[in-house]
Amino acid sequence: VTVVFLIVLGMLCAAGALTLARLLRGPETLDRIVALDVFVILIVTAAAVYVAWYADGSNIPLLAAVALIGFVGSVTASRLAERRGRHG
């Protein structure tokens, strides 16, 4: 069981690293927003794996909270990028 979890977390870490690469490289603000959104989803996924590992449901509200923040953040950021892009 531990091996499975290690593999799963390894894949998620690799995915996180790739997403960070896109986040740093851009080139446009919107690329970064997409990358950041994916990164938040990856955090939620990793937290879900954590919950599964310890078979402990008490952290599940955390998932909902992070997902909510990610959603609000992405929406706000993309609207801001749109406004900037149009005026600048």
């Binding site: 894949m11 990856l42 449901g57 599940i60 959603f71 929406v75 993309s78």
Partner: protein
């Protein structure tokens, strides 16, 4: 035990999908396709991981997990729609959208994003095809079946109307201010590479060879051919069907080829170069201030 195995498979599959999505995010060439990578595999990956997790916790928590999954399914399309719309409105990524199949049909797949303020018109389904390295001034008008090559330039008040037939402007060619390019259903207008079409020229259904100079105020009519490197002098009218041989000069109304004169090679190369440079400069520096 079976539950553990199913859960493990779901977790592994979900993580693999997340990784796949991240690979796509890095490797895909432009924003619209990256949005795809960011939403579909990620969402499915998360749902699989949540399902795998739900199998390992008590029922109450599993219900909350379902809610988290639902939330993701609802928000992912909202975010990708918003990002896509922002990209579309600001022109981000549209310059490369010919390499992507993911834009809605409203996206002019062939139009570089720098050209968003240029009056480009589709006629029915036919859209102008403009090379990303071409420069079209925002006061020029380009309609329908028009192809503009790399580093070509089209200047203020020029009109390229590809309605009945086809118009081709070759690479490194300039179509200067006030020139009118039209075509007919029988005769496309083909302008070659490194051609200089001067100010206030009218070309209709004619073929202009590479490196030719069509000087200001001249008219080249239906079915006429101007050879490579030839010159149509200012104000000349090349009558329908007339053929100007390569490297010769045509003058007058109606245009006649000047006897015993051959245009020296490359005599207008500097003009071609200067218009390519001019196009780059305008692209970088032109600002509308009122």
């Amino acid at each position: 035990v079976i539950r553990d195995v199913v859960s493990a498979v779901l977790l592994l599959a979900g993580a693999a999908l997340c990784l796949l999505g991240a690979v796509g995010l890095v490797r895909l060439p432009d924003l619209p396709s990256r949005i795809q990578a960011a939403t579909k595999p990620q969402t499915l990956g998360l749902l699989l991981v949540l399902a795998g997790t739900a199998l390992r916790v008590e029922l109450e928590s599993a219900v909350t997990l379902v809610l988290v999954g639902l939330f993701q399914v609802i928000t992912a399309p909202v975010i990708s729609q918003l990002v896509g719309r922002s990209a579309y409105r600001t022109g981000t990524g549209a310059g490369t959208c010919s390499s992507s199949t993911n834009w809605p049909t409203r996206c002019r797949t062939t139009v570089p994003h720098k050209l968003r303020d240029v009056p480009l018109y589709a006629l029915g389904d036919v859209e102008p095809e403009i090379h990303p390295d071409a420069y079209v001034h925002p006061d020029a008008v380009v309609i329908g079946n028009v192809t503009i090559g790399a580093e070509a330039s089209v200047w203020p008040s020029a009109v390229l109307r590809g309605d009945d037939g086809r118009i081709e402007v070759g690479p490194r060619t300039s179509v200067q201010d006030g020139s009118i390019i039209h075509c007919t259903s029988r005769e496309p207008t083909i302008i070659g590479a490194e051609v200089t079409v001067g100010h206030n020229v009218h070309i209709e259904g004619a073929t202009i060879g590479d490196g030719a100079l069509v000087s200001s105020g001249s008219v080249v009519l239906n079915g006429a051919t101007v050879g490579a490197g030839a010159i149509v002098a200012a104000g000349a009218v090349v009558s329908p069907g007339v053929e100007i041989p390569p490297r010769r000069m045509a003058l007058g109304v109606p245009a006649r080829v000047r006897e015993g004169y051959e245009v020296p090679e490359g005599v207008y190369a500097h003009a071609v170069e200067s218009y390519i440079k001019r196009g780059k400069r305008f692209r970088a520096e032109l600002r509308r201030i009122a």
